[in-house]
Subunit: 203 residues, 2 copies
């Protein structure tokens, strides 16, 4: 009999397991998603399956900035209107989307695909830092903006890159720390407030 516990047909049980492996999808959500797939027209369900396959088949990494792309070099690295003297270093491709949405940056990017994390065994050789050093050595770059998260790992990674690139004479900056726009002083946490005071600016 090809049925699992409680009479769930094997393909459904397997689909529930696969959904459950996705981040943020609990067992109940996985079950609901699997039964949703069962109910929708075959065309809609297969569109999702094909989109998954397409991503794995067609997406590659830019050989210059390591961003995800369909063609190498990526559209940012190809774009001659962008400032090639500034590189913004991010943890993951999603961060690029956030920075682009801000509309405040017109330079190039570099994706590390991770942050230094000695506790989890992630060292400099696991990130794409070597490629960044090579881009700086090529000569055109004058500033590196470290746009890593304001977390322990993000700060450690920024400091590591800064020390590595200082001898090359390139300017290494990082995103400002302070109160987020629209925040309420009363509810700001201590560290954010301390950083906002440290980084206070002339009016």
């Amino acid at each position: 009999m090809a049925e699992g516990a409680g009479g769930t047909p094997e393909p459904i049980g397997r689909l529930i397991d696969e959904f459950h492996r996705l981040p943020g999808i609990g067992p109940k959500s996985a079950q609901r998603l699997a039964y949703h797939i069962l109910r929708v027209p075959e065309r809609d369900a297969l569109a999702l399956a094909e989109a998954i396959g397409d991503v794995k088949r067609r997406i590659i990494f830019c050989s210059s900035c390591l961003n995800i792309t369909e063609s190498d070099p990526c559209s940012f690295c190809q774009d001659q209107r962008r400032d090639r003297t500034i590189i913004c270093v991010v943890e993951q491709p999603l961060d690029i989307l956030a920075i682009e949405r801000s509309g405040s940056f017109r330079g190039l990017y570099h994706v590390l695909h991770g942050l230094l994390n000695p506790m989890d065994g992630v060292g400099p050789e696991d990130l794409h830092i070597r490629e960044l050093v090579e881009r700086v050595r090529a000569g055109e770059v004058t500033e590196i903006i470290m746009a890593t998260n304001p977390s322990l790992e993000g700060e450690a990674t920024a400091m590591y890159v800064q020390r590595l690139l200082a001898p090359a004479g390139v300017r290494v900056t990082r995103l400002a720390r302070g109160l987020p726009s629209g925040a309420d002083l009363e509810y700001a946490d201590d560290i954010t407030l301390a950083r906002a005071l440290e980084g206070r600016q002339e009016l």
Copy 2:
């Protein structure tokens, strides 16, 4: 250029859209899931794609009870140890799992695949009520348990089926209403408490 707004490659954008169409998956979650698919090994990503395809290819509906199954009739309808005189009527296949988990029912099932909902244009002909009437007419059945949700639609559907089957001389019951096990009287809602009082039982 095959890039969308903000430099998202087309396959990623399409996968985000497909995830976003799933119930309970917002735009941010869809984005996170799509980038997760990008990161995991190809084998893991394709396992999800194949599980989706398998569900659509291999799952059929039982010709007797309309439950989902890989082989017709389903394992419940095939199981000669189950009581064939009682049919438990549910809205969807997931409800069968819940009832099986309770371990308190050993009869057969019937899946309506929906509930009466005139507001959304769902009438009796959209549900599998005709098949239920035929099963009752076949003669073996003595009791129909309406296990539809205690909602407006669930109650309306139960009442409709009751009126339809009354002339056939079959007993139509529904699940008891009352306080859920482990509930706190103080926090029970008015209707639940009213139903629990109405249905009070001798100790």
